[in-house]
Point group: C2
């Protein structure tokens, strides 16, 4: 499997456009925890080959909230926000797992974007997908109480990791959800008393998924 | 001033594309308070000639929050969300003032989008601008306290309306900010005690903008 099979509209690009991308891209392998992009740097577009990235925003006081995650074949636009002048926000992107990816310089992508309707439309779809994720998050933050959001997060995390035994700290959960560690700790203890989870150092084990699901939907 | 001078990339479209749009669009004049779009209806794209529209989302319990506003020359994409399959959220759009606008059917726009790089890129920029507004709002909701958000809202509203005497109910302010009327009323009374506003039925008068600005930035 090579780059050509990962790039979304490869078979709709001209030979010249393909050469321009192939001549400018860089392959990278990064360890879990690596910071790939921050602030308004024009890092370039990130195309995930395998692994997992997390995009989050930061408050002035250093609080975090995860706005979306990127998995295999996902293309990150906002690490190349210099490409679109209307993007007026900064995201931070870090590797949540060891990740193989390609970096496509914003300039090369932008040149092709200007002339290729297929690439521009595909970029539109990608942005619309991220927009939808952010709108979902907005609704969660606005209308859902923290107990439901923590229940949803644990269930989603368990599905992504394929295990009911999650190696994650309370601090990390708080950073995903945009809240304080104390809030998470208090809620997880309540969940434990209700028999929904079992807590140990750096581990949250889901012991009654049905109960968590009921809480999430309540 | 006619439609051609309002549509963003008119001079980059072919004659056939122009005819397709002109042959399918409809002009509308609506009164303040008119609901123009709701749910997942495919109303079409809305291009504002003059007036003011408000896009908001609704909770299951009927709470509202304004996500962006549209002014003269603004084009609304999300009233035609059927056009982009990746859009998975619903907005409601109402006229905040008497408004003249054009409705462009999603199908006609989408056909041109598929073949026109300029229109696709312009659509990208519009979506990126809305995305930026939503990210700004997300940061407000997450990290800013309600007193600062109400102060910001009053200052912005005063700038948009060009007056320090705002005809607006506490309920309407709550619906813009995604909170309850009681929260707004309590805060406005506090502002009044501090000499920042003067309240009367259906009116909030800004009496000390500098103080509101200081609060907003605090």
């Amino acid at each position: 499997m090579n780059f050509q099979s990962y790039f979304p509209v490869w078979n709709q690009l001209t030979d010249a456009q393909r050469d321009r991308i192939l001549g400018s891209l860089a392959a990278r392998s990064v360890k879990k925890g690596t910071l790939l992009h921050s602030g308004d740097d024009c890092t370039g577009l990130l195309l995930v080959k395998s692994g997992q990235l997390r995009a989050y925003i930061l408050s002035e006081e250093g609080r975090e909230i995860t706005i979306y995650r990127l998995f295999d074949r996902d293309l990150c636009l906002f690490s190349a926000s210099c490409m679109l002048r209307s993007i007026q926000f900064d995201v931070t992107i870090e590797a949540e797992k060891d990740t193989d990816l390609w970096v496509i310089p914003a300039e090369a992508y932008q040149q092709i974007l200007a002339e290729s309707a297929p690439l521009a439309n595909c970029t539109n779809e990608i942005m619309a997908a991220r927009f939808s994720e952010v709108m979902w998050l907005m609704e969660q933050v606005l209308w859902k109480s923290m107990d439901k959001r923590i229940a949803s997060f644990l269930l989603e995390e368990s599905a992504v990791e394929g295990t009911s035994r999650l190696s994650i700290t309370h601090e990390a959960i708080a950073n995903h959800l945009g809240t304080h560690r104390e809030v998470v700790t208090r809620m997880l203890r309540y969940f434990q008393n209700e028999g929904m989870v079992k807590l140990s150092r750096g581990v949250v084990e889901l012991t009654a998924e049905a109960k968590l699901r009921a809480l999430q939907g309540a």
